[in-house]
């Protein structure tokens, strides 16, 4: 009986770890899915916006007094704002002129932007990893055998708040309606008076702000940051977006949580060395049975 109890505790502990990792994946995945929704391309640079978010937090955390709740929130807001501006800048300078180009070209350009951010990051910030400061007061709670860190709760809490906020923006505001219109049919949206430049710009700002928040939250749990830190989480977040059905906001959240949980469970098992491959294995299995993702609608190609 004792054995069974510790097994349950172990399970709950891993589930909690998995959910807090998954919440971060979900935040990044939302940015991918929104950009895909309006422009139909994979914004590879998104994972590096995530990285820049963590670095803004690192430098901003030196200026403002951190270690308190309000100081930490200020850093979070600063990183989100900085990333939103960066995302809009990238869209304005690079992607806007590529709108009529074939998807593949946009994809390669996005890879170019991603590499540019990574390697300029190595020049500006240095290639060596840095330790991310504890910008929030942290404590560990014990519930029986279960250890819950305040950072984990914070990550899950902030992610839920941001996702609810996003859902509100997309479905309850004017600009959100415009976003959905552009996503359904850009030309028709333009005809009924939607300014698609503003909508796309706003989409990038929103997605990048979420990536920035994700960067800070990730750095809280894994406090070693370097210019290439975005590559793997970014890739997995994109897998999460596809898993849930790309272009679908609840799907991205679901995919992120699922992926984070599965990955944490595999990491804690005897197959832990296969941790980095499991995300892709899950993706392949799900796409074989549901080619449009978990919540995506399957469309038959028409002539």
């Amino acid at each position: 009986m004792v054995n069974f109890f510790s097994l349950v505790t172990e399970f709950l502990q891993q589930l909690l770890n998995g959910l807090s990792l998954g919440a971060i994946y979900a935040l990044i995945a939302l940015g991918y899915t929104m950009v895909y929704g309006v422009l139909r391309f994979i914004n590879f640079a998104h994972s590096d916006v995530f990285m820049v978010g963590a670095f803004i937090g690192y430098y901003f955390g030196k200026i403002v007094p951190v270690g308190t709740l309000w100081g930490g929130l200020l850093v979070l807001a600063g990183a989100m704002l900085g990333c939103a501006l960066l995302g809009m800048l990238i869209e304005r300078l690079v992607y806007r002129s590529l709108r009529p180009a074939p998807t593949l070209n946009v994809l390669i350009t996005a890879i170019g932007v991603s590499l540019l951010l990574e390697y300029s990051g190595q020049l500006v910030f240095g290639a060596a990893p840095r330790t991310f400061p504890a910008i929030f007061p942290s404590a560990n709670f014990h519930l029986g055998e279960l250890t819950i860190s305040s950072n984990q709760l914070f990550v899950i809490g902030v992610s839920i708040i941001l996702m609810v906020f996003l859902q509100f923006v997309v479905f309850r505001t004017k600009i959100g309606t415009a976003m959905r219109a552009v996503s359904l049919n850009p030309k028709a949206a333009q005809l009924v008076g939607v300014n698609i430049d503003i909508v796309i710009s706003f989409t990038f700002a929103l997605g990048s702000a979420l990536a920035g928040a994700g960067g800070i939250l990730y750095a809280l749990n894994y406090p070693s940051i370097d210019p290439l830190m975005g590559v793997m989480p970014g890739l997995k977040a994109f897998v999460a977006a596809i898993l849930g059905g790309i272009g679908n906001i609840p799907g991205a959240a679901l995919g992120g949580l699922l992926l984070g949980t599965v990955e944490t469970f595999v990491g804690g098992s005897q197959w832990s060395t296969y941790k980095d491959a499991i995300a892709f294995a899950v993706l392949i299995v799900i796409l074989l049975f549901r080619p449009a993702g978990l919540l995506g609608k399957f469309t038959v190609e028409k002539v």
Binding site: S97, L98, L104, T109, G112, Y274, F280, I284
Partner: protein, 320 residues
């Protein structure tokens, strides 16, 4: 009367002999750069069959390359001493062993291509890209976990069998096979699959089979390139074949102009030379590289060397 492409292949093989005959008189640095170029040309031309001619966006080419590299290295490391004896055998024996190792590498990569291709080619566009990328990563992590093949440390002490002759010869063979395949009656199906899948299906082409054939042939040559790479660098690690490598090859294909073999070869040469040229400013090398990539995509979206495209471009009929 020998057909023209076969004559060209023969001439290229003779040229490979010629270059390797004089290789003692060439600066080793240039030989190394030339070997690197050759390997990249094989990778880019074989990926072009999948991405350019058949229109299936694959991001897993480095995975197939790693299968070839590992299996070929395993043949010459584990089987080599048994077949050649203690003294290492004569040059001709080594040549036969190396050829066998490359073929084994290529065939196992082709088999991996079949395993990956059959389930994933039902998907399209970005989904396919991501699934192939995923398979590439799975292959990498799997090699990291096979202790016999060195695990995360990779394989060391691979005999340096790769000479300029082998590289140039396989470049010639790859270009020959891809060109002949695409220009054959059968091969028109690749282009048809790319141009309009629904229409091709309607006239009775088995597009899935075309996609898989392109995938398997592409993977075969990626495996050959991997074998050459392993016996050139003498050491291989799983991380050397991650998705950054796949992207590097895709960039060559796109810069060359999709489905344009000559352009893709030129792009592979250029992109291999670029890091060498930028060596004095090594610190800024990748920044310049990525910046150039963005500028090129903005300025010449049809590919750097795709001249025909710009002449033949017609205004697209606007679809509703």
């Amino acid at each position: 009367m020998i057909p023209k492409p076969h004559l060209a292949l023969l001439a290229a093989l003779l040229a490979a002999f010629g270059v390797s005959y004089f290789s003692d008189h060439i600066d080793p640095y240039y030989l190394d750069v030339l070997t690197g170029i050759g390997i990249n040309v094989i990778l880019a031309v074989s990926l072009n069959l999948v991405n350019g001619y058949t229109g299936q966006f694959s991001l897993g080419h480095a995975g197939f390359m790693s299968v070839g590299a590992y299996l070929a290295a395993a043949v010459s490391l584990f089987l080599g001493p048994k077949l050649l004896g203690e003294d290492g055998g004569t040059a001709v024996q080594q040549g036969f062993l190396f050829f066998g190792a490359l073929i084994v590498g290529g065939l196992s990569a082709a088999f991996a291509g079949l395993l990956v291709g059959v389930p994933s080619l039902r998907l399209k566009g970005d989904y396919l890209a991501l699934v192939t990328l995923g398979f590439g990563e799975i292959i990498r992590v799997t090699f990291q976990n096979i202790e016999v093949l060195g695990g995360a440390l990779g394989m060391n002490g691979i005999p340096p069998y790769t000479t300029i002759f082998w590289v140039l010869a396989f470049v010639a063979i790859t270009v020959f096979v891809v060109t002949c395949l695409v220009n054959s009656t059968y091969g028109r199906g690749f282009l048809a699959t790319r141009d309009d899948e629904v229409a091709s299906e309607a006239v009775g082409l088995n597009t899935t089979r075309y996609k898989i054939v392109a995938f398997v042939v592409g993977a075969f040559f990626a495996g050959i390139a991997g074998g050459l790479y392993g016996h050139f660098k003498m050491t291989i690690t799983p991380t050397g074949f991650d998705f950054t490598k796949s992207i590097e090859i895709v960039v060559m294909v796109i810069l060359g102009g999709m489905g344009n073999t000559v352009g893709v070869i030129l792009a592979a040469v250029l992109l291999t030379l670029l890091p060498e040229v930028l060596r004095p400013v090594a610190q800024y090398r990748m920044v310049i590289y990525s910046f150039l990539l963005i500028v090129l995509m903005l300025a010449r979206p049809q590919g750097l060397f795709n001249f025909r495209w710009s002449l033949a471009r017609k205004p697209k009929p606007s679809l509703p």
